[in-house]
């Protein structure tokens, strides 16, 4: 029997994300679910371990809100725009509390996810050898990474990293059907392997489509629905990040966050405005349009640059 998994972000986060969980956060600079991230913050989830090859300001907001104890990642920064202030305050000064980061490389986090997606305990990689990532670790101690020798021909040494299988993962995609069959295009980043490594997956999407839309272009499917436990309709759900074919990055908004989050007070003000002070994503978008005007909002929308279609006929 067909089961609809459609629910609100509020319901999905309340039902499936518990304090202390290890949470895989999907997207790579592109298609990051702010719809779910902000709900995690509003519901004041605590002691989370968050995982992603590279984190931007979505991690910073969760850190500032006190949701995070541990980070599995290779990077927490805002590229050329500079440091994320909550991350640094927490790492350097323990504000709002001391957090730990298990330093890997982009590829190493990805490889840990790949091992997780394959259901194998570890995977050997070429990265990290000789670097101080092998010398220092946080809470994982010696379980972070180990040098192993190729048991077959080369006898060379490789770095073995353990499988990463978060309790839950949340991802943003362009479209999904009610059962959670997801399609994504543009920058995939850590998907689809990270999605498969998570024990369960919440998906937020720009559009809910019929099963027939998925079936007409099945090569575009990044995750079949059997892994998905919740489908959250969230138009503009990745704002201020972008979602290819829907809207572009809102750099002004990201600048504003970075400027205001320099002090804990400024951060609180920003968050009161845009996270704590709104009910849900709909409220957030309404506030955005009220504050910046419809013209600016529509300016974010993507132009139509459609691909040529292919013939699936036989």
């Amino acid at each position: 029997m067909k089961v609809s998994k459609v629910m609100t972000a509020k319901e999905a986060v309340a039902k499936f994300i518990a304090d202390g969980m290890t949470v895989g956060v999907g997207g790579f600079f592109h298609a990051i679910s702010y719809a779910i991230t902000h709900e995690i913050i509003r519901q004041q989830k605590r002691r989370l371990t968050i995982c992603q090859p590279s984190f931007n300001e979505h991690a910073d907001q969760m850190i500032g809100a006190g949701c995070v104890d541990r980070i599995v990642s290779s990077y927490v920064w805002m590229e050329v725009f500079g440091p994320l202030h909550c991350f640094r305050r927490a790492m350097e000064k323990g504000i709002p509390h001391k957090i730990e980061m298990e330093d890997y490389t982009n590829f190493a986090v990805m490889a840990r996810y790949l091992a997780g997606s394959l259901g194998i305990p570890f995977i050997p990689i070429q990265s990290m050898k000789g670097s101080d990532m092998m010398k220092y670790s946080a809470w994982m101690g010696e379980g972070k990474a180990k040098l192993i020798r190729d048991p077959f021909n080369s006898k060379k040494e490789y770095v073995a990293v353990p499988a990463l299988t978060p309790d839950i993962g949340y991802f943003h995609v362009q479209r999904a059907d009610e059962e959670g069959n997801c399609q994504m295009w543009g920058i995939w980043g850590d998907s689809p392997w990270s999605m498969r490594a998570c024990k369960q997956v919440i998906v937020s999407c720009e559009e809910i489509v019929g099963r027939d839309v998925i079936g007409r272009d099945p090569n575009r499917t990044i995750l079949p629905g059997y892994k998905v436990i919740a489908v959250v309709p969230a138009p503009f759900g990745a704002h201020p990040k972008h979602t290819q074919g829907y809207y572009d990055v809102d750099r002004d908004f990201i600048f504003q966050y970075i400027r205001e989050s320099r002090s804990p007070e400024g951060w609180k003000k920003f968050m009161d405005n845009w996270v704590y002070g709104v009910e849900d994503r709909e409220g957030y978008l309404k506030k955005y349009i009220d504050t910046y005007g419809m013209k600016k909002f529509l300016n974010l929308k993507a132009k139509d640059i459609s691909s040529s279609s292919v013939n699936y006929g036989f």
């Binding site: 790579f28 600079f29 592109h30 590279s54 990642s73 290779s74 990077y75 927490v76 920064w77 590229e79 050329v80 725009f81 991350f87 640094r88 790492m91 350097e92 730990e100 980061m101 330093d103 890997y104 490389t105 982009n106 590829f107 190493a108 990805m110 996810y113 790949l114 990689i125 070429q126 990265s127 990290m128 050898k129 000789g130 670097s131 101080d132 990532m133 220092y136 946080a138 060379k156 040494e157 295009w185 543009g186 920058i187 995939w188 980043g189 850590d190 998907s191 689809p192 392997w193 990040k241 972008h242 290819q244 572009d248 990055v249 809102d250 750099r251 002004d252 600048f255 600016k296 300016n299």
Partner: protein, 292 residues
């Protein structure tokens, strides 16, 4: 060695534009280059529009062979997969790189040492790894690139506190503790080939693996550079003056970075409208100059 660029040298250029051109000249035609953001990325774009039209640019987010007509501000920007050969996953991009397909990677950091080891993880100060005085972003893909790209280009600000005998934390391996170290670890890649700073260009001695001074930028002396290096810097007996960018290179830089985001302080004054305006203008101009 860098590529010799033909064309009239510019007489009106900034230091940042010289750095972009210097980065561009490290790229040879038909190479596969792993690009990040910042000046090296602009350099890679300039190479593509000048002497290296067949270069394949790869971005960590999984975009391979894009043909961007506009500046990337992030490695997840839509510009990254514009007219790309393939838009795939982070895993695919990095697996190709671990397999040894990538010729050049471009890296930066907060500290570098004489063996080209880079630190982008933490400045310890009086603390340690767990209690750093300054926490930095971490490796990102830098360690992967430093381990597996055939060679790497390092871009650094020339300051004594950044050019150290030993970095606080080795995020990305150069030649580690000297000759033989990379061979011992069996990396796919061969290590750094050049450091480009805002004062000079350094290359690595084949025997000692130490960085030496190869050229100084116009107006900079060897002594100026030595003052901003913590170790006893060796100087090439044929130390040169870094050649200026060509007029053509400067023109491309002006089109791509009209608002001086990478080549000036434009980031501070950037608004959404001016940024979009710049991207659209550069897209139209470059597309007419270099149709796909």
């Amino acid at each position: 060695m860098s590529t010799d660029c033909k064309g009239a040298p510019s007489t009106n250029y900034t230091l940042q534009e010289l750095l972009v051109a210097a980065a561009a000249r490290e790229i040879k035609d038909n190479e596969v280059v792993f690009v990040g953001v910042g000046i090296p990325c602009l350099g890679a774009f300039v190479a593509k529009f000048t002497h290296a039209p067949n270069v394949v640019l790869v971005v960590e987010s999984g975009c391979i062979g894009s043909m961007p007509y506009r500046l990337m501000l992030g490695i997840g920007d839509n510009a990254c997969n514009e007219n790309a050969i393939a838009a795939t996953s982070l895993w695919r991009a990095f697996s190709d790189q671990q397999r040894g397909y990538f010729d050049l990677g471009m890296l930066g950091g907060a500290q570098v040492d004489k063996y080209g080891n880079l630190n982008s993880t933490a400045i310890f100060g009086k603390g340690d790894y767990k209690h750093p005085v300054t926490r930095l972003p971490g490796s990102g893909g830098a360690n992967d690139i430093a381990s597996s790209a055939k060679r790497t280009l390092l871009m650094m600000n020339q300051q004594k506190r950044r050019f150290l005998d030993k970095v606080d934390y080795i995020t990305s391996p150069g030649y580690l503790d000297g000759p033989g170290a990379r061979e011992k670890y069996g990396y796919t890649g061969n290590g750094p080939s050049v450091i480009i700073s805002n004062m000079a260009i350094f290359r690595f001695d084949e025997m000692t693996k130490e960085a030496y001074l190869d050229s100084v930028h116009p107006g900079v002396t060897v002594d100026d550079v030595k003052k901003e290096v913590s170790w006893d810097l060796k100087v090439s007996p044929n130390v040169k003056v870094t050649p200026p960018p060509t007029e053509e290179e400067v023109e491309i830089i002006h089109i791509l970075d009209e608002k001086k985001i990478y080549t000036g302080k434009g980031l501070k004054e950037l608004t959404f409208e001016s940024y979009i305006g710049m991207l659209e203008k550069s897209y139209t101009t470059l597309k007419s100059m270099f149709p796909a």
